[in-house]
């Protein structure tokens, strides 16, 4: 069966195309990271279901957590998992 003849659209979609779906607008609370408290352990990165918590190098070359608010749903899992309480949830 040829897809062309049946006028069925190609069901194969682009890898990672869900990036067009900016889930940040689901958020009612926002994680705010205090870089002075963050020890760069990556616990929040490893727990985030949405892969939108990232580790970045700061000016001194230290790893610090950073949120991509385009996708962050504001679940607060990162804040409750942070071992040094460097993440606070704030109302949007």
């Amino acid at each position: 069966m040829s897809l062309k003849n049946n006028k069925i659209k190609n069901p194969v979609t682009q890898p990672g195309s869900a990036l067009n779906n900016k889930t940040g607008d689901w958020r009612t609370e926002k994680p705010i990271i205090d870089p002075n408290l963050c020890i760069g352990c990556s616990r929040c990165v490893k727990m985030c279901p949405d892969a939108c918590m990232l580790m970045k190098l700061d000016k001194e070359g230290k790893l610090k957590a950073e949120v991509d608010y385009d996708y962050c749903k504001g679940c607060g899992l990162c804040a409750s998992e942070c071992p040094v309480k460097a993440i606070l949830m704030e109302k949007e």
């Binding site: 990036l19 749903k73 679940c75 607060g76």
Partner: protein
């Protein structure tokens, strides 16, 4: 799409539609960290599949296929056969929910294990059919309130015991069988790496707190999955060549009372003290069974 992978450092990109704070998607991110781009993923029907592939979008940045609810195992077998014919060493990894694994897919999984194919099977154990609104599965624990085992005046929730899927896997002679939970991301990643390195089939089961299913807050998937281990209800386990080779229950382990785990979840909030005692007995049994 390697640019996306670089930016987000995951084969499972943001923009999926899983509930905020989903313990299954959190665990799936830990699984992704163990994989290389020479991997083919097979999903059964369920939350991980539905929320990551809202057509025409996909969160997957690896070759990925979904067929029928029950069908992940035979589809994986077919892919494995084709790879064998092409002499390719590409890894084949199945991701499925507990309903797909414990219930509807079990005969087909058994066949795949009989054929001794080198396929890694990962079960995200939310302890219910999450995607269709929390019906009880063979994995639902005794006493849990689900829409098909509703707690009320005449019922305390599920009156069936959770099926022992690890034992079923072990009975098939699998060389690698392991259990973990969402709260231990590095443990998950390490176990998936070990499974990938083991010849023949392997099975990994990950307790994955479901926000609406467990009736917890969106920030509690970590806490729930951690308490499951700390109370010995769901210990971290590893069996190599059929023998228990690693367990979170060791000489230094001090278990917390199961009420610590049960009380944070709405699905257990109706339980009486006598019923909680029965669940404590299950944890006490685990303490003896899995001590290393």
């Amino acid at each position: 799409m390697s640019t996306n992978k670089k930016k987000f450092n995951s084969f499972l990109s943001p923009g999926h539609n899983a509930c905020a704070g989903c313990g299954q998607l959190s665990a799936a991110q830990s699984v992704m960290r163990a994989l290389t781009d020479d991997t083919i993923l097979i999903s059964s029907t369920g939350c991980l599949e539905v929320t990551t592939t809202a057509y025409p979008q996909s969160s997957w940045q690896l070759p990925w296929i979904h067929s029928l609810f029950e069908n992940a195992a035979p589809v994986a077998s077919g892919i494995k056969a084709a790879l064998k014919k092409k002499k390719k060493k590409t890894k084949v990894v199945i991701q499925a929910g507990d309903g797909a694994t414990y219930d509807i897919g079990i005969g087909l999984i058994s066949g795949m294990w009989e054929r001794n194919e080198e396929i890694v099977y990962i079960c995200y154990d939310t302890e219910a059919y999450s995607n269709t609104g929390i019906q009880a599965s063979g994995s639902t624990p005794w006493g849990a309130n689900t829409v098909t085992t509703p707690a009320g005046e005449k019922s305390f929730g599920s009156n069936q015991q959770k099926k022992d899927m690890l034992k079923i896997a072990l009975a098939h002679g699998l060389n690698y069988v392991a259990q973990s939970t969402t709260a231990f991301p590095d443990d998950i990643t390490n176990k998936v790496k070990k499974a990938l390195a083991t010849p023949g089939p392997s099975y990994i089961q990950i307790l994955s707190p479901c926000v609406p299913g467990w009736k917890i807050k969106t920030n509690q998937a970590g806490e729930g999955a951690r308490l499951a281990v700390q109370t010995a209800l769901y210990p971290l386990l590893e069996y190599t060549n059929g023998e228990l080779s690693n367990s979170s229950i060791n000489k230094n382990f001090k278990a917390l009372p199961v009420s610590d785990y049960l009380s944070i979840q709405g699905r257990f909030k109706h339980l009486s003290e006598a019923e909680i005692k029965q669940i404590q007995a299950l944890a006490d049994k685990n303490l003896k069974l899995f001590k290393l």
